[in-house]
């Protein structure tokens, strides 16, 4: 039984005309504001082509989904897109259950998520 690192890691980098946000750890009611800060910051600076890489995310709750949905709504107002990279089956299941698979582009690789932006 091990206690993993509970701190979430969120960082962003520019890839061509898009920005990739890397998230690692557990996105819950305590940590999701940290994800929101980075997403909102990028959108505030006029970036509307986003890939959010969730490959290192082990857990996401409704507040985390809310951050993603909120980001998508904002970039769409400017003709932008949010694509997700997600391979974890438990997390894909959450996107399935909530019907969010129909709203987000969800990809197995970052390359595919970036390619689908343009």
């Amino acid at each position: 039984m091990s206690v993993g690192n509970m701190d979430i890691k969120v960082s962003e980098r520019e890839v061509g005309k898009a920005h990739v946000i890397d998230v690692g750890g557990e996105i819950d009611v305590y940590t999701s504001p940290k994800v929101k800060d980075v997403v909102s910051g990028l959108i505030d600076r006029g970036t509307y082509q986003l890939v959010i890489n969730l490959e290192q995310v082990r857990y996401i709750d409704s507040t985390g989904l809310g951050v993603l949905i909120g980001g998508l709504k904002r970039v769409r107002e400017h003709g932008g897109t949010v694509n997700l990279v997600c391979t974890n089956p438990q997390i894909r299941k959450i996107f399935d259950i909530t019907g969010l698979v129909k709203i987000f582009g969800i990809f197995d690789t970052e390359a595919a998520a970036l390619k689908a932006l343009s």
């Binding site: 557990e26 819950d28 009611v29 305590y30 857990y59 709750d61 409704s62 438990q90 259950i97 909530t98």
Partner: protein, 137 residues
């Protein structure tokens, strides 16, 4: 006397955390550990984790920041029964945060992930949620 108790007693794990975002992880992980010890498969453990967390998140959104969340988990034959309560004793109904009326997504997830869910929330009594996850499905 002790034999009668052993027959009727059911293992119950009880947890009380402050109704604050930072402590939800304690509930989530404690319940995951109980489920793991109760031989639930990994996917069901993940379901229970998320359902408990959503119940706590809901209580935090609706409640009073000085309040407590009480989680009682009964280990039954082939099921876990989880009772999440957030009494709103200290705060009158009309002082509660209006923006947390109800998280549609959180409750939707709970109903999707657990086998049975009874949810009751009103301003005078706080939140009361009972959910059951069965071992076989």
């Amino acid at each position: 006397m002790s034999e009668v108790r052993a027959q009727t007693a059911q293992d119950v794990v009880f947890l009380r955390i402050p109704a604050k975002a930072e402590w939800v992880v304690v509930a989530r992980l404690a319940l995951a550990t109980v489920a793991s010890r109760s031989d639930f498969p990994i996917e069901a453990i993940e379901d229970i984790k998320l359902a408990v967390a959503e119940a706590c998140t809901n209580a935090i959104a609706q409640g009073d920041a000085a309040g407590q969340i009480e989680i009682s988990c009964s280990i039954e034959q082939a099921a876990l029964r989880v009772h999440v309560r957030a009494p709103s004793g200290a705060v009158a109904g009309d002082h509660r945060r209006a923006d947390g009326a109800s998280s549609g997504l959180g409750l939707f997830l709970i109903r999707s992930l657990m086998d049975t869910v009874e949810f009751d929330a009103d301003a005078s009594h706080g939140m009361d949620l009972v959910m059951v996850k069965r071992l076989s499905n």
